[in-house]
């Protein structure tokens, strides 16, 4: 600001406080790169991160987000305008961290230059009055001043200090150490940028997708095979590696006793996979915490559930639907909800909607599942007949039944007809609509496939940042001066220490050096 004012006094037409564009920019740059601004921006970043932990985020929990939106219809438009459902991609969050990064760059570039000079510089000359420094001590010795100074050089050099080159007429030794502290500091700040680059590369070029695979089915890595797919904005589908795999078998162990009874352990999906269509088939046991890596793509096991296998016959007795259908667990008991659509059924399409109980038991008249293991599986579904709305080509979830043009099938008593079947059983539907047979249960696995380029860069950045951080926190930059003057018969010695980080206990350092200087003297005497 001070230079701005002097220029103001030169420009006669300008009012006080008026700035040219250049001055304005320079002022803004100084403000932005000041330590105080960096600190405020840091705290702002912390504050800006908070909403994302309170409000469900689209990219983290899309189910929770839509549920939240349903519950708060009034707030939703406001929140949407403020990007509160995707805080970490929002303009305002990005603004904070970009400003912080600019501030950081503006702060450390001049410092790198300054450090380059400081590293080559000699330790400064001893101040005239060493006794003005907070940590200093004096003692007298019989040794001649020059000899004592020569030994002080040796002692300090032995302790890793850089010594100012001796010149004629010097009555003091200047020594400095801890040059690497600033280097650590700079490495830390540069590494933050490296991490950000790694993070950005992953976000832009990477992708993440999920697919549910019933035991025995095969997946090949093309876009159409995914149930959900979240690519980065610069992702190209040509980058997808051409692997394929089959889930041969899925095993899980259930804890039968203890406080965690009902918890599943030892998930294991046996895969056979090929890295490319013409590559040999290999085997892999996919487990939690044990992903499969193919090239730059990783495959994770992140969920499992049950897919009841049914055969639906229509009114004509023809098979209208056959195969496993994925049911989604509603909670940890694996009570699962699902929908079966027999679109080939004639004369009318048939739809089933209901629950799957892995281990069915009536408890006080309520159907429940007592174990997540499929010990006594039961399907309990309501039946709909009519147009299931798939013929008009509109996309539809496989987990939802469009009942707008279908009517509920009723039993003879006029109540909704309910299908309750166990494996091997067949139920005839009323009105000659057909039948459904529960053939058995197959497990399904949810597989997450992701490609995160730049993760090694990010990791390298964090590790470098940690190393830099350790350097900047624990390397103690300090200066020592030893002055020796002949006084009467002997020599008067002054030693002073300056801690440049402001956190060390220099008294201890000073004591050590003085003890060594005097101790060796005694040993020689």
């Amino acid at each position: 600001m001070s230079d701005v004012r002097t220029e103001d006094s030169k420009g006669a037409e300008r009012r006080p406080g008026e700035l040219t564009v250049r001055e304005m920019l320079r002022w803004a740059w100084r403000q932005l790169t000041s330590m105080r601004t960096a600190l405020v921006l840091l705290l702002l970043l912390a504050l800006a991160a908070v909403p994302g932990s309170v409000i469900p985020q689209e990219s983290v929990d899309s189910l929770g987000t839509s549920r939240w939106k349903e519950q708060h219809p009034d707030l939703t438009p406001i929140y949407e305008r403020l990007d509160l459902f995707s805080v970490y991609d929002s303009v305002w969050f990005s603004a904070v961290y970009i400003l912080l990064m600019v501030s950081l760059v503006g702060c450390f570039i001049p410092r790198i230059a300054a450090y380059g000079r400081a590293v080559r510089a000699q330790p400064p000359r001893a101040p005239r009055h060493l006794s003005r420094l907070p940590d200093h001590t004096t003692y007298s010795t019989d040794e001649p001043a020059d000899d004592h100074l020569a030994r002080a050089r040796q002692v300090l050099k032995g302790r890793g200090y850089r010594i100012r080159a001796a010149a004629d007429g010097d009555d003091a030794v200047s020594a400095e150490r801890g040059y690497l502290r600033e280097a650590g500091n700079l490495v830390f700040h540069v590494s933050v940028l490296v991490v950000l680059v790694g993070f950005a590369v992953g976000g832009l070029f990477g992708y993440k997708g999920g697919v549910i695979l019933v035991e025995g089915s095969t997946f090949s890595n093309t876009l159409t095979q995914y149930d959900d797919f979240a690519p980065g904005s610069l992702f190209r589908s040509e980058d997808m590696e051409p692997f394929s795999f089959t889930v041969d078998k899925f095993d899980v162990d259930w804890l039968l006793e203890g406080p965690r009874a009902g918890m599943a352990t030892k998930f294991n999906a046996s895969l056979s996979y090929r890295e490319a269509p013409d590559a040999p088939t290999k085997q892999y046991d996919l487990r939690v915490n044990h992903p499969l890596t193919i090239g730059g793509t990783e495959i994770f096991l992140i969920g499992h559930g049950y897919a009841p296998v049914v055969t639906v016959r229509d009114g004509n007795g023809d098979i209208a639907y056959q195969g496993p259908t994925v049911f989604l667990p509603q909670d940890a008991s694996f009570l699962s909800f699902g929908v079966i659509k027999a679109l080939e059924a004639r004369p009318r399409q048939l739809g089933f909607e209901g629950l799957f109980y892995p281990t069915f038991l009536m408890v006080d008249g309520d159907p429940t599942t007592v174990m997540p293991d499929d010990r006594r599986p039961v399907l309990s579904m309501l039946v709909y007949a009519g147009d299931l709305g798939l013929d008009d080509g509109a996309a539809q979830s496989v987990y939802e039944l469009d009942k707008s043009d279908a009517e509920q099938v009723k039993g003879e008593d006029g109540k909704p007809f309910r299908v309750d079947i166990q494996p091997g059983q067949t139920v005839q539907l009323p009105d000659g609509l057909g039948s459904i047979r529960f053939d058995g249960v197959k497990p399904w696995t949810r597989i997450q496939i992701s490609r995160t380029p730049g993760k090694e860069v990010a990791l390298l950045g964090v590790v470098l940042a940690l190393i830099g951080l350790l350097g900047s926190l624990f390397i103690r930059p300090r200066r020592i001066w030893v002055r020796a003057r002949p006084e009467g018969e002997g020599t008067m010695v002054e030693v002073a220490a300056l801690d440049r980080s402001g956190n060390g206990d220099m008294a201890e350092v000073l004591d050590g050096i003085v003890a060594e200087l005097r101790g060796t003297e005694k040993a020689e005497a």
Partner: protein
């Protein structure tokens, strides 16, 4: 020994450790009460000009009363007794932790749930206090540390206690050891640093005391530096836990190294606030009081992350969608 026996041993040891901590607290309170009778020794807080003869700047603040005075002897005795009791309680506390790990089948580190995390975290607080006591003369801190540890243990036993159970699948990884132990150590150290910063603020407000317990608390300068040193230790450990091992493990278990999960967000917030604290100490006008306030803010975010997120945030712990609940079930760490 059977698993059940180990579990019983662990539960009893926690109770016993609590009792001994309480005795230690009483002894230290008696020590502080004795101080009231004491005429404060000549204020020696000014730095001794000549560095020779003192053993570090922290020593400057501890004022030795006149030797031979009966009260000062009693104070010294009570101080030593309190410390001894603390060490005994710490050993019993360790037995409880080991028992907890041995009780599980298969044996594991005792960091599987909130109860285990709390008793481990409070163990680290005491351990660090005991380890640093000699070097930094932390005697003045004893009642606060003990009060905190005792409260944490009571909360753990009354509200958080869970029976020993096998780990959920996502936790079943050697990263549990690396990641959680560093997080626990950092949490313990930050807590200790926060106590020092809190005392800094109390002392800055009340001014240099001439009598009473506050005379034992070192000068502002020493408190500020001590707080910085503890934080300077804790911050890299926290960085290691949250920004290195956390993402590596998250990548292995949940397929993405950073998910913006509430727990991660708050760990990040804590990191940023403590980075702010370290910055503040190097920024003119932010030293001392403001830096201490930042340290306490950081501690608040840390504990909120530990307690608050587990209880108030429904979407926490990576239960992204219902079909995943079983594998990535709430770990409550």
């Amino acid at each position: 020994m059977t698993n059940a026996a180990w579990e019983t041993l662990s539960n009893q040891a926690i109770g016993a450790a609590g009792v001994v901590y309480f005795l230690a607290l009483l002894v230290h309170l008696a020590e502080w009460a004795s101080l009231r009778e004491r005429v404060p020794a000549a204020t020696a807080s000014a730095r001794v000009a000549s560095g020779a003869g003192t053993d570090g700047p922290v020593a400057v603040a501890t004022r030795e009363p006149e030797p031979g005075a009966p009260t000062s002897q009693r104070v010294a005795f009570l101080g030593r007794l309190g410390f001894l009791l603390t060490v005994i309680a710490l050993v019993v506390h360790l037995v409880a932790l080991v028992g907890r790990g041995m009780a599980a089948d298969p044996n594991r580190v005792p960091w599987g749930n909130m109860y285990e995390f709390t008793i481990s975290g409070s163990f680290v607080v005491t351990l660090m206090y005991v380890a640093l006591n000699r070097r930094f003369r932390l005697g003045w801190m004893a009642p606060i540390v003990l009060g905190f540890v005792l409260t944490a243990l009571m909360v753990a036993v009354i509200w958080l206690h869970e029976e020993v159970a096998p780990l959920t699948e996502a936790l079943n990884s050697y990263w549990l050891v690396i990641h959680v132990v560093s997080a626990i150590i950092a949490t313990g150290a930050f807590t200790l640093g926060g106590i020092v910063s809190a005392m800094y603020l109390v002392k800055a407000r009340r001014g240099e005391a001439v009598s009473g317990p506050l005379t034992r608390v070192p000068s502002l300068d020493v408190l500020d530096r001590l707080s910085y040193r503890i934080h300077a230790f804790a911050f890299p450990v926290w960085t290691f836990a949250v920004l290195i091992t956390g993402p590596i493990w998250a990548h292995e278990a949940w397929s993405s190294y950073w998910n913006w999960d509430p727990k991660e967000v708050w760990a990040f917030i804590t990191w940023v606030v403590y980075a702010g604290y370290l910055h503040a100490r190097a920024t003119a006008g932010w030293k001392g009081r403001n830096a201490a306030l930042l340290a306490l803010l950081g501690l608040a975010t840390l504990w909120f992350n530990f307690i608050g997120i587990n209880y108030f945030s429904s979407s926490s712990q990576h239960s992204y969608a219902l079909e995943q609940t079983t594998i990535t079930s709430p770990t409550r760490l």
